[in-house]
Symmetry: C2
Subunit: 239 residues, 2 copies
DNA sequence: CGATCAATTGAGCGCTGTCAAGGTCCGTGG
DNA sequence: CCACGGACCTTGACAGCGCTCAATTGATCG
């Protein structure tokens, strides 16, 4: 893993998992915890190899991948600030995790977490709730992959991204929407996430551009112009 | 829910969740637990409505569905004997659960489960493990829906089904494979699960028949003839 | 300012969905 | 036991979406 640094002022506060973090911080304030800054592309979990740490994402995006039997890889989930990562389970999973952008993770040794769960029952419950939420997310994404057209998938992704990358303190509501979205994925990664070809992704972005629903600014930025159209295409999936 | 009956001799013993069940049985033997027999088509969870019970499937298959924004429904998971169902979470989920076949469920009141989790910490851990397993399953299915052709999906489903419906005491290995598989789903449901049209499902079954990989016996039975071909098509997904 | 890789665009085709017709299974009643 | 009806399933024809292959354009960095 490499570079590390003591975690002094964590900014994940208002995210769903804040309670876990604060529990940990209260009991063992910033001694064994550290804020790791990882470069884009760094592998965090590699298939079956066991992991002795776990952490909470503070900033950046982590992509979760599974090896397709045909050799190719598919992205099966994205983890945003506030989400868990690492050895949240003892049974090994073929899941691969990689930093999609530069990432900051608040890391803890695994045994520390285990003992904490024993001492704070609330912690285990929070973990379970979060995992059930992830399960819901995965199943909703199954519906996206199963029933939506290429254009709808791209629209859905853009809205999902906008929602997930809102500043922590922003409440729901159309007033606080960000116009300009930073894409944490390349076109190739977008294709792997949406189960499309690179070319199709490109064509759908072009189509959205010609509908004047979005405006692409370089490779990694999108400005959203027409929320109504995008919402209609995504059919209010991730409200 | 309707018909119920005290649970005397439960047969879920050797399934993954046996520990939960036995913990419950030990502490509170068969007083508030009962074995519910439900007919095919009975709805178990309906979207947002809260549920005050939970249970473990003893026999039969339960399908989990999500409403597609386009109106159609998609099956996002199947629950087999040994799996949880019901209020395993407090946060509401839009998930709908329905008996795909006649189903027997060992049911418990929700508060009983909650108190047990407080008394037996192992129980919460088991729940978390099981949920993480479900998450893995969901993500693997995402890969199936994203990258596999219609023929491969059908082959994958047949092998998955064979694996899941093996008798409890059967260990892994090719020796104990069942030749004849009972399909818990109609063609329409199969299509909803595999994200295909009914017609395509039918055509792929025909193709497998013409390859002499399977043999259909009526509408709800399949005899597997060529395991190698099926495995090759499914690419050893659910080993 | 070129070198290099990513992204876009175009042409062509195959897989799968749609629409429509025919066939099969199964419960019901004669 | 057989005839009938209706739901479920199968089969065929056809079109369209998205993938593949190939060439071009564009971005980013030395």
């Amino acid at each position: 893993m490499g570079e590390g640094q003591r975690c002094q002022t964590c900014k994940v506060g208002s995210r769903p998992l804040c309670s876990v973090l604060s529990s940990i911080e209260e009991l063992q304030p910033s001694r064994d915890t550290m804020l790791r800054r990882l470069p884009q592309g760094r592998m965090l979990l590699s298939g079956h190899r066991p992991t002795n740490w776990f952490g909470i994402i503070v900033s950046g995006v982590v992509k979760l991948m599974l090896n397709d039997p045909n050799g190719r890889q598919q992205i099966v989930g994205l983890q945003f600030p506030g989400d868990f990562i690492g050895a949240t389970q003892s049974n090994p999973s073929p899941l691969i995790a990689e930093a999609a952008t530069r990432v900051e993770i608040c890391c803890f040794p695994r045994n520390m977490f285990d003992t904490l769960v024993g001492r704070v029952p609330e912690l285990g419950r929070t973990m379970l709730m979060h995992t059930l939420g992830e399960l819901d997310t995965a199943r909703q994404w199954m519906v996206v992959l199963g029933n939506k057209s290429a254009l709808e998938r791209v629209a859905t992704f853009l809205l999902l991204l906008e929602q997930k990358t809102r500043p922590c303190d922003a409440t729901e509501g159309p007033g606080v929407r960000q116009e300009i979205i930073e894409l944490p994925l390349s076109r190739t990664e977008l294709a792997e996430y949406l189960s499309l070809s690179i070319e199709t992704v490109s064509r759908q972005l072009k189509q959205l551009r010609s509908m004047e629903a979005i405006e692409t600014m370089g490779r990694r930025k999108v400005r959203i112009l027409d929320w109504a159209t995008l919402n209609r295409l995504a059919a209010h999936e991730f409200a």
